[in-house]
């Protein structure tokens, strides 16, 4: 923030998940000045919230934090967290991004991340970072390895009791902070706005989100994470350690009734991964995966799938419906035993995890004139030879912003997007026509 030309950059990276970070680092390593714009209060995106990642089963945080730290400390990178991108347009042959810095009510310059405020705050709020299974305070640091390690106030829940301001050693709390508008200029932009997961509701065959022991795979990530809400794997309704866990694949993917006819691409693999982690955490638990097709297509993925089968994880080709709760709180499923004689089988599981679909994390509508495909993800007019090109010259796309994608593929695409952006920038520097380069 102390850079003299604070708002002039070579490239703007929208989104700071693994794709955004990777793209930004690749540009910055070539001495381009990069601004990262992040909507959340911390960089890191979805990946930093995961437990372990396939197919190597290494800890997500251990891979993300070095990239986060590298970006945070990179001399060529400036990070704007908690900023909404309000418009992105080309003016006088430069890209102009208008941001709104949302108020944190805590001065980023003054806050030292000591969390005294958090300990004093009397308000408990369900913590979305922990799948809603744990509570956080109304003033809080988003999560343990957040960057920046700075607090913010959740204005919707703050009761203005003043305790945080009183206890803050640096007097960083400012209840009167207002949103601030910023204008960034750059020559190129990389859109890495990632994905969101569809909500549990709107699927009658899965209880419309009303059954406590029917949870999303993202919630399961938290239950499995070493720093998760319960510190071990328990089911939410009664804290029982589940003996039988079931996964329902394609719970909101490949399904036109929920508007997601496409495959969300990552669910098979994260399910297999979670199933393995459950088997590790609860060796006696039965894990069943109900699926239509197991899509283990990446490097090492098929072997990963075979290993899971060898570990005793059961894969059943069927798409079940939830028939309701049993008396003990377990979930009753009905499925068609296709691999046998096709009869309908009723099964009970202590905990059911839905592999929900991925939808775009951001829509360019009203912000810039980027075109989207029928699936709502950013359109890539040359998906073969230049997969990160968009329809706007100088604007590139990386990762799940251009369709559901796993971490490995997102990282590759981010590298590719950074290369295309670097060449676009280099061409401009050489005085070549930007439009020609992009065409």
């Amino acid at each position: 923030m102390d850079k003299p030309s604070a708002h002039e950059y070579d490239a703007l990276v929208v989104g700071s998940g693994i794709a955004g970070l990777e793209a930004a680092l690749n540009l910055a390593d070539q001495d381009f000045k990069v601004a990262i714009v992040e909507r959340d209060a911390s960089i890191g995106g979805k990946m930093i919230r995961l437990s372990k990642v396939f197919p190597t089963l290494d800890c997500a945080s251990c891979i993300t934090t070095p990239k986060m730290a590298a970006a945070a400390h990179h001399p060529n990178i400036t990070i704007y967290t908690y900023c909404e991108l309000r418009s992105l347009e080309r003016q006088d042959n430069r890209l102009v991004a208008r941001l709104r810095q949302k108020p944190r009510y805590v001065s980023v310059e003054k806050c030292i991340g000591c969390r005294q405020c958090e300990y004093q705050c009397p308000v408990m709020v369900p913590d979305a970072e922990q799948g809603g299974f744990a509570a956080r305070k109304a003033i809080y640091i988003p999560f343990s390895n957040a960057i920046p390690q700075k607090a913010l106030i959740d204005a919707d829940h703050c009761i203005l009791c003043g305790r945080c301001a009183k206890v803050c050693p640096t007097k960083a709390v400012n209840y009167l902070e207002m949103p601030e508008d910023l204008v960034l200029q750059s020559d190129a932009a990389i859109i890495a706005t990632g994905y969101e997961v569809t909500p549990l509701a709107n699927k009658p065959q899965y209880g419309n989100g009303s059954l406590a022991n029917v949870i999303t795979a993202m919630q399961m990530e938290r239950l499995l994470a070493p720093h998760g809400p319960y510190n071990r794997l328990l089911r939410p309704s009664d804290g029982k350690q589940p003996d039988a866990v079931a996964y329902i694949q394609c719970a909101a993917s490949r399904d036109q009734t929920v508007g997601i006819p496409y495959c969300s691409r990552v669910c098979c693999m994260y399910t297999i991964k979670q199933a393995m982690l459950i088997s590790g955490a609860l060796p006696l638990a039965d894990v069943t995966v109900y699926y239509i097709d197991i899509r283990a297509f990446g490097k090492g993925y098929e072997q990963f799938f075979q290993n899971a089968q060898a570990m005793g994880i059961q894969f059943i080709k069927a798409k079940p419906a939830i028939a309701g709760n049993a008396v003990d709180g377990s979930v009753v499923l009905r499925y068609e035993a296709q691999e046998e004689d096709g009869r309908i089988v009723t099964a009970q599981h202590d905990l059911v995890v839905l592999s929900l679909g991925l939808v775009p994390g951001w829509s360019p509508q009203g912000v810039c004139s980027l075109a989207c495909g029928a699936d709502g993800f950013i359109k890539t007019p040359q998906p073969k030879i230049a997969p990160s090109l968009t329809e706007l010259p100088g604007v590139f796309v990386a990762g799940a912003a251009a369709g559901p994608k796993d971490i490995v593929d997102s990282i590759a695409e981010a590298g590719g997007a950074a290369m295309e952006a670097a060449n676009y920038l280099a061409t401009r520097r050489r005085g070549g026509s930007a439009l020609v380069a992009a065409a």
């Binding site: 690749n26 190597t56 000591c114 050693p169 097709d293 030879i385 490995v408 590719g416």
Partner: protein, 643 residues
């Protein structure tokens, strides 16, 4: 909450400056900061010990800068929060003061002390941790980042889509590229396709565009019929021996004939062959090139079924997908009505079998003389099959299509749509389980009679079904193009799947252990064209970061041989994890010719595997020496520090 008193100065004999942070109470609430300063001042190494409310703040940093500038301090110990938060802050402060940023050590007294311990225990532990840091700092040496000059030129091995894409990206970035291709053609495997799934781009057009730009680009030199025969050097300075030679009689004869039959000129697309960018060499040509980075784009080859696999080779009705595509398009001019005709045979019923040469399971499938199993999924065949099925159904509505699959892997953008479209156009799908592959048998002696396919279909409750087909197409998978020569020369890691192996799929996905060598495209894993181009550009961006500056700065934390101690046992070389980072060389020490270990800093990873094995402690990792650790342990166990 106490506030620090005005800084006291008690100058000791040494020149270590100790700065303890209150962290606004976060540390000082549990640790008696002033007591820590007081006891640290007793240490002989310490020149100055100060405290501040916020060491990371400007006034805090000023304390350090002033002390360095005034000469009181030449090395710094900060006791504050985790080094991961502010190590860079303090290093740059030292640099600004004109000091060496590596004469610095950090004691983590917040995360490791005040936040986890309480009361006198906390102060005592903080004391020891700071003392240990002082002990280490006292033994620190000034370090400089290792700078390696870089040849601003790259070699790309392989002239397929990945190679051409990578070459173009680097060339557009203003870097010189030498593109080395073993065959006489550019285009690789993609040149042998017709359409690209799922969107149906014309493969020849894609090749023509890439190859056209490659040939026109002034920064790219193409060398076909060329192979790398020699390799040495390291990142920034690789030397490659490249040999161009005329193809031998049988080699590429068919493709060359196809080209001349089509009357193709240099640079023209020859269907199912590629583009010949330059004349064949007439003599053996050898040259040495020096490059800063190498991109491997050696690609893949389609799986070739064994004789008898699904009747392949025994029954004329069984073809692989690439073979079928080629025959079909060759015969397309003789299109007859609504029915597909291949090799003069009318195809009323066409069956496509998935996972041929992919997803083998040990114990279920047998190697069948291949000597290996392809346990991986080839990623592209499902979509290619669906695309083909749709194209047939659209073009020849009277030709029926059946697909036999294990899992339909239509995962990418536009792929599930292909699957839905295929279903809608009445392609019939059958799902078989591994080990229960469809059985193909001839129905009569007549070679053009339909064959009978028997399958236990999961979708029909595992009942055995029979399908008659005039043609069976095997959707064959991808295999790594074998490059034993390069693997040997460059010590490339090869995975169990026989593809080249990256260091880590997420942290360093396009790199191999040797710095400066990158992987692009299907030499690494099966990919489609879009994914290949992404991967190629990702490899290019890593190479570009190295090449554009003309030098690379590497961490100074690499091994260093103390020649006064080295006895030339070679134990370190044996233990070294990075090939070529440590070597035994002949040299003159004190007038004697001896063999001693030598570090190549450009290749050293700084892991310290060598340190542990040296019987004479003659090798150490700079900045992390064994002596420093011993000194820290001494400080931790010392009796006299209990404050």
């Amino acid at each position: 909450m106490s506030t620090p008193e005005s800084p006291k100065e008690t100058t000791g004999t040494g020149k270590v400056g100790v700065y303890v942070c209150y962290c606004g109470g976060n540390i000082s609430d549990q640790v008696e900061v002033e007591k820590v300063c007081e006891s640290l001042r007793q240490l002989p190494e310490v020149g100055v010990a100060r405290s501040n409310m916020f060491m990371c703040s400007d006034p805090g940093q000023e304390l350090i800068i002033e002390d360095i500038k005034s000469g009181k301090v030449d090395r710094v110990v900060i006791a504050s929060c985790s080094p991961r938060l502010h190590e860079t802050t303090f290093r740059s402060a030292i640099s600004r003061a004109g000091g060496n940023p590596y004469l610095y050590e950090h004691a983590n007294v917040r995360e490791q002390v005040s936040w986890v311990h309480h009361g006198s225990e906390a102060t005592a532990k903080a004391n020891r941790l700071v003392a240990a840091a002082v002990a280490k700092a006292a033994l620190s040496e000034p370090l400089q980042p290792i700078r390696v000059d870089v040849q601003q030129r790259a070699a790309v091995l392989g002239g397929g889509v990945a190679g051409m894409k990578a070459a173009l990206e680097l060339a557009d970035r203003g870097l010189e590229v030498i593109l080395i291709e073993r065959s006489p053609f550019l285009g690789g495997q993609v040149a042998r396709l017709r359409h690209l799934a799922p969107f149906g781009e014309d493969a020849a057009a894609v090749i023509a565009e890439l190859a056209g730009r490659v040939q026109e680009h002034p920064a790219i030199t193409v060398q076909t019929c060329a192979q790398v025969e020699g390799f040495d050097g390291y990142i920034g300075q690789f030397r490659l021996q490249v040999r161009r030679r005329p193809p031998e009689a049988e080699e590429y004869a068919d493709q060359l004939a196809a080209g001349s039959a089509a009357g193709a000129q240099l640079g023209d697309v020859v269907p199912f062959v590629g583009i010949m960018p330059q004349r064949l060499p007439e003599n053996l040509e050898e040259q040495e090139i020096t490059v800063g980075a190498i991109i491997l784009a050696t690609g893949m080859r389609p799986y070739q079924p064994l004789r008898g696999e699904y009747g392949y080779g025994d029954l004329p009705q069984v073809l692989t997908l690439p073979e079928f595509t080629r025959l079909w398009h060759a015969a397309r001019s003789q299109r007859q009505g609504d029915l597909l005709v291949v090799q003069g045979r009318r195809i009323r019923h066409l069956a496509i079998i998935h996972c041929v040469g992919s997803r083998h399971i040990p114990g279920v499938h047998d190697e069948g003389g291949r000597g290996y199993l392809n346990e991986y999924c080839s990623r592209t065949c499902c979509t290619a099959s669906l695309y083909t099925a749709n194209l047939i159904r659209q073009t020849y509505p009277n030709t029926r299509v059946y697909e036999f699959y294990r899992d339909m892997r239509a995962f990418g953008r536009g792929q599930e749509e292909l699957y839905a479209q295929a279903s809608d156009s009445q392609v019939m799908f059958f799902r078989f389980r591994a080990g229960e592959e469809p059985q193909i048998s001839p129905t009569s002696e007549h070679p053009t009679a339909p064959v009978l396919i028997r399958v236990k279909d999961v979708l029909t409750f595992n009942e055995e079904l029979e399908v008659m087909a005039d043609l069976v197409v095997l959707a064959v998978g991808q295999e790594a193009n074998p490059v034993p020569g390069l693997v040997e020369l460059m010590k490339l890691p090869v995975g169990a799947d026989r593809f080249l192996l990256e260091v880590h799929p997420k942290l360093r996905p396009v790199e191999v252990a040797v710095a400066g060598i990158y992987l692009a495209g299907t030499c690494q894993a099966p990919f489609d064209v879009g994914e290949t181009c992404s991967a190629a550009a990702a490899a290019a961006v890593k190479a570009a970061a190295v090449l554009t500056r003309g030098y690379v700065e590497l961490d100074p934390f690499v091994a260093e041989v103390d020649l006064s101690r080295c006895q030339g046992t070679g134990a370190c070389v044996e233990a070294c994890l990075a090939d070529g980072a440590l070597t035994m060389v002949d040299m003159t020490v004190d007038g004697q010719n001896v063999r001693r270990a030598q570090v190549n800093p450009a290749l050293c990873l700084g892991c310290g595997a060598c340190v542990a094995v040296c019987p004479h402690n003659a090798i150490n990792v700079k900045g992390w020496t064994l002596k420093q650790y011993e000194a820290m342990v001494d400080a931790i166990v010392a009796e006299d520090l209990a404050a």
